[in-house]
């Protein structure tokens, strides 16, 4: 048994004045199929997709120079310690996010197209919900087949906190993950809920096992209810019931996998987080900490994270931006507003740097989690002021188990962003023909290779 000592600084999880009080401790040792068990011959593929809203100040995002010979831009400066692990890709576009006469829901289409490359239906055609399976979920179907959670969907902002003033299409910006063309996956905001999904809500290993058995029989039993309902209903009107049954089966499979994974290795867990931190940065770091744990314990290999919803008006008083994010993103070339928007963009990259640091500090296979992982960071909007969907901010971080060479800036003629997604999936061992509007893979190898 391998015991990894406290992976996280305790204060990360325990907040507030009440923090000195003993929190209900989980049994500190959880079974986990640790990354440490992996051999270099079969490295584990890990993928992450991190979305930042409202575009960026492109002039301060895009690095000067190309290839290995480039300088990190002001917004990307926090990534200096990881320069060799980062590949910045310029010139990508999501033309499917454009209006096509469907009105100005650019923000929402940007989120929808980001990992799908599909033009979202909008209110001009009525409420019709259809996109396509997104890149992360395509990856999860393969990479997540043996992990307890096929994927994790995370967000730092809850859907209900923002008014939607452009009609029915707003829900498209609540998530970047679609499990089927008609089922978007909700993204979780609460750190405690994420923690409990990963590690349960307490009890000894024996109790947890008993609970898993009870849950299994519970799920088994409600399937009968659904079957009886189905008979009562006849052929029509079954959509939700089908979703219900699919969801129950998905959970059943997860429980079976957890059984298999039991008692491989152990990891000492931090204490369970209690609340959503009031401070945005603290919230972000906590969610990143949890994702590091999820990778480390191999409970999941794929995740998405929304740093904010498109059109968010979150204010950032701590970094000197008391104005709403969306408001400053429409800077109309006012230098003061542009500076504020760039501050927000830089802050988000700083939080990404924190995550990279945590990944680099965590061993995986014969390197670190950062060496193994492939992380995509970016937005579905380029220039947030103009709602443009070309020259998107895109960077890839991580070594992809030797498949990604960082320390470069790739400057391309306009190329569908989906080409990059196809390439990333291929590198993750999930080859697909095409995705959305892709027209081939994208060569991201260094010149001369």
């Amino acid at each position: 048994m391998i015991v990894v000592k406290k992976a996280l600084p305790r204060r990360t999880f325990v907040r507030g004045v009440g923090a000195t009080l003993a929190l209900p401790l989980l049994d500190a040792m959880v079974p986990a199929l640790s990354a440490l068990a992996q051999t270099p011959a079969a490295p584990t593929r890990r993928l992450g997709f991190i979305y930042t809203p409202n575009g960026v100040i492109q002039s301060q995002w895009t690095p000067e120079g190309e290839g290995h010979d480039f300088a990190l831009s002001p917004i990307l400066a926090p990534l200096a310690p990881f320069r060799d692990d980062v590949l910045v890709v310029s010139g990508l576009a999501h033309r499917q996010a454009e209006s096509f006469g469907d009105g100005n829901a650019d923000h929402h289409r940007a989120t929808a197209a980001w990992l799908s490359g599909v033009h979202a239906w909008t209110r001009s055609t009525g409420l019709e919900i259809r996109l396509d399976v997104t890149a992360d979920q395509i990856a999860a179907a393969t990479l997540g087949a043996t992990t307890r959670l096929p994927s994790l969907e995370l967000a730092l902002e809850s859907p209900t906190s923002i008014a939607c003033d452009s009609g029915a299409d707003c829900f498209y910006s609540n998530t970047v993950s679609w499990q089927t063309p008609t089922t978007p996956l909700p993204a979780e905001v609460h750190p405690r809920v994420v923690f409990e999904r990963l590690f349960g809500d307490g009890g000894s290993p024996a109790e947890r096992q008993a609970q898993a058995r009870r849950t299994a029989s519970l799920l088994d039993s409600v399937v009968d209810d659904a079957a009886r309902l189905q008979r009562r209903l006849g052929p029509g009107d079954r959509n939700r019931l089908t979703e219900y049954l699919d969801s129950v089966r998905a959970l059943e499979q997860r429980i079976q996998r957890a059984d298999v994974a039991a008692a491989e290795t152990s990891l000492e867990l931090p204490e369970r987080p209690t609340d959503i931190p009031a401070d945005f940065g603290e919230h972000a770091r906590l969610m990143f900490d949890l994702q590091v744990l999820a990778f480390q314990t191999d409970l999941t290999r794929v995740f998405t994270l929304l740093v904010g919803r498109e059109q968010t008006n979150r204010t950032y008083p701590d970094i000197g931006v008391p104005d709403g994010h969306h408001v400053v993103s429409h800077h109309q070339h006012n230098p003061t507003l542009m500076a504020k928007k760039a501050k927000i963009d830089t802050y988000h990259v700083e939080l990404l740097a924190y995550f990279l640091e945590r990944l680099r500090a965590t061993p995986d296979g014969d390197g670190s989690l950062l060496d193994q992982a492939m992380l995509l960071y970016g937005s579905g909007l380029g220039d947030g002021d103009l709602h443009s969907h070309h020259d998107l901010p895109v960077l890839i971080a991580g070594g992809g188990a030797g498949q990604l060479e960082g320390g470069r800036h790739l400057s391309l003629p306009e190329t569908p962003m989906t080409n990059l997604l196809v390439t990333l999936l291929a590198k993750a061992g999930v080859p697909i023909e095409r995705l959305g509007d892709s027209n081939g893979p994208l060569n991201i190898e260094p010149a001369g290779v």
Binding site: V17, T160, V193, L218, E243
Partner: protein, 657 residues
């Protein structure tokens, strides 16, 4: 078929199990993922069922069942209630005993009769001793002296000995825990100090309260939940009493599934009872069975069975039982009660006078508050106010106390509309509103003292009251630093006149905010640029005058006579049809002259919420009919609700293809 929304699920749990004020650990917002919304979150197409949600349902069922039944082996819960830094602490707060200042009143369910630790975070210990009181349901359970000379006796708190913690015995059920300072002090008035030092001031103040427990020996006790669940008890208590188990579970099933139940419903649930009984006796059996019920599709999904012998595509009336469920979710955002279920099952809900009588009964029930907390809150985006952060340099007075007061006014106005069955037109031309001291001072209205809200009559010329005079709406339609006549104009068009403007064309050029001479343009001059461009003018000629009429009310709803640029405000306007008007009172007169416009808009919103789908052109005759019906009753809220309940979309169902 539709699944329950998160709000409906929470209310159904409350009503099924008499569970109120759940511990933060079981906060609905952390229990289930948020629903998508298109104005309202109960639109069926957006209520997806995903593995993530299913997993959350399973976990929620486990936590809820052990809390409701009072499982003595349940793990202890730790809940921290932080007090917002901005919450005023220098005065009496609502919900706390008179003569106290600051602190917090926490409504919370205590799972078992047992010992709980109350830990209190404090700042600043003054030279004068202060007495801090802990009370459960108004009864003092501990008094602690803090600050002052080192030793003032046994009850003194010594900060060097660690955090302030007291162990108190609390009985199971929903209780109000109060933590507050006893007695008045000479506190600096909240308005005289800057926002960052306000509230906590120089006096000792509570920063957080953490409740943990139960510790040691704890027993189920006599909670309301247990009374509701255990309609019988086995004798002796540890006996296997299958008859009692059947009785308890049949009642739960009947309510949870919202229909009469048969043996085939009971059998699978009983097998969970048996397993639980084998595990730890009768009550554990009921707990396991309850978990099973709460995960069943019959509870989580609202199912309406297809009619037989109806041609495809042909609408047909839903059954009385289904109608009972529709009614309950419309008026209560929850499951039907026993009376509705009985009428539904007996097929008597549509008997003459019965349906209208039930609607009247339901509107008078406390559960109808959901029409305010769920319908109005979503319609007016009140939930957004929570996230609004007006610029603290420009609006230093905006804090949580004011935010609560703004919401309080809006909620009370609607609550009164409902309880006193007023005309919805009073939302446009009010003659009263609800204020407390904080809000009255914000509005510049004298002679209102204290933290409680009271009815305040308004003069004919008052800008206050009604939707347009509410600080909540005025703040929600502004940016963090300034007002937005465009947003406000659009809001009036959408929510009062029911004529939303189309979205702006792409690539709109920026408005100049300075003139040729470099001087900052007034808001009115900036807006004039809209009308200079014919592409913009077609819509902005409708929006801008409506928004500019409200310019005397700043971005947090205060009265003003100069705008951000220092220019005197000119709130006059001309509508596209040539009607000239002046300011908010002028706008009100214009809106009041077209009552059907607002009533139609209100009806559309309420109908969409009632049927849980977006409305289409085919719904227009229904809406017109409802408005005509209500006109004969002064547009009273009850008349609109009754007409909606009687309408075709509410009564009938069209099979989905």
């Amino acid at each position: 078929m539709r699944r329950l929304t998160r709000t409906e699920y929470g209310n159904a749990i409350r009503d099924l199990l008499a569970l109120e004020a759940l511990p933060r650990e079981l906060d609905l917002a952390s229990l289930l993922p948020a629903d998508n919304t298109v104005g309202f979150d109960n639109v069926a197409e957006l209520l997806f069922v995903t593995p993530t949600l299913m997993e959350a349902y399973v976990t929620a069922a486990r936590k809820i069942a052990r809390l409701a039944v009072g499982d003595p082996s349940q793990p202890l819960i730790v809940d921290t209630y932080p007090l917002p830094l901005e919450l005023p602490q220098d005065r009496h707060l609502p919900g706390l005993p008179l003569g106290t200042r600051g602190g917090i009143a926490i409504d919370r369910y205590f799972p078992l009769d047992g010992d709980y630790d109350i830990e209190i975070g404090l700042t600043r210990f003054g030279r004068e001793p202060e007495r801090l009181e802990i009370a459960v349901d108004g009864e003092r359970v501990a008094l602690v002296v803090i600050g002052g000379a080192a030793d003032t006796g046994e009850s003194a708190y010594d900060p060097s000995a660690g955090p302030l913690r007291r162990r108190v015995r609390v009985l199971a059920g929903a209780r109000t825990l109060g933590v507050t300072f006893a007695g008045k002090t000479a506190a600096a008035s909240e308005t005289l100090v800057s926002p960052f030092s306000r509230g906590r001031g120089r006096m000792p103040a509570v920063t957080s309260v953490t409740i943990s427990g139960p510790y040691g020996e704890a027993v189920p006790g006599a909670s309301a939940s247990r009374a509701r669940i255990f309609t019988c008890h086995p004798v002796p208590p540890d006996a296997d009493d299958p008859a009692c188990a059947r009785r308890v579970l049949s009642t739960l099933l009947h309510r949870a599934y919202r229909r009469p139940v048969a043996e085939e419903d009971l059998a699978p649930v009983l097998s969970f009872y048996d397993a639980g009984h084998a595990e730890a006796g009768f009550e554990r059996g009921v707990q396991r069975a309850l978990e099973r019920i709460l995960v069943s599709p019959e509870f989580l999904l609202r199912v309406e069975a297809p009619a037989v012998d109806v041609p495809p595509g042909e609408p047909y009336p839903v059954t009385d039982l289904e109608l009972a469920t529709r009614l309950a979710f419309f008026l209560w955002s929850s499951m039907p009660d026993d009376e509705l279920l009985e009428l539904g099952a007996a097929g008597r809900l549509r008997a003459p006078g019965v349906l209208a009588g039930q609607v009247t009964r339901m509107l008078a029930d406390p559960r109808a508050t959901s029409l305010v907390s769920n319908f109005v809150a979503q319609w007016l985006y009140l939930r957004d106010l929570e996230a609004r952060r007006p610029n603290d340099r420009l609006f230093p007075n905006f804090d949580d106390g004011l935010r609560d007061a703004l919401l309080g006014e809006t909620e009370l106005v609607f609550e009164t509309l409902l309880r006193e069955d007023r005309s919805v037109l009073e939302l446009l031309t009010p003659n009263e509103t609800f204020l407390n001291e904080r809000l009255a001072r914000h509005y510049g209205i004298p002679h209102v003292y204290g933290s409680h809200f009271r009815r305040v009559s308004l003069g004919e010329d008052s800008v206050r009251g009604g939707l347009l005079g509410m600080g909540s709406i005025l703040t929600l339609t502004s940016y963090a630093t300034r007002t937005s006549p465009v947003v406000r104009g659009k809001w009036v068009l959408e929510n009062i006149l029911g004529a939303p403007p189309p979205p702006p064309p792409p690539d709109v050029p920026a408005l100049r905010d300075t003139g040729q001479d470099g001087r900052v343009l007034s808001m009115r001059d900036r807006m004039a640029q809209h009308r200079a461009n014919p592409v913009c003018a077609s819509c902005h000629a409708r929006m801008d005058p409506l928004g500019l009429a409200l310019e005397n009310l700043d971005a947090v709803g205060r009265w003003r006579i100069h705008d951000e640029s220092g220019a005197p405000i000119d709130a006059s306007g001309v509508l596209p049809d040539g009607t000239a008007f002046e300011g908010l009172t002028g706008l009100r007169a214009i809106l009041a002259a077209r009552p059907e416009a607002f009533v139609t808009t209100f009806t559309e919103k309420l109908l969409m919420y009632a049927v849980g789908r977006q409305l289409g052109p085919f719904d227009r005759p229904t809406v017109r009919h409802i408005v005509r019906e209500a006109a004969g009753h002064d547009y009273r809220i009850s008349a609109i609700v009754q007409a909606i309940v009687g309408s075709t979309p509410f009564q009938m169902r069209r099979p989905e293809s």
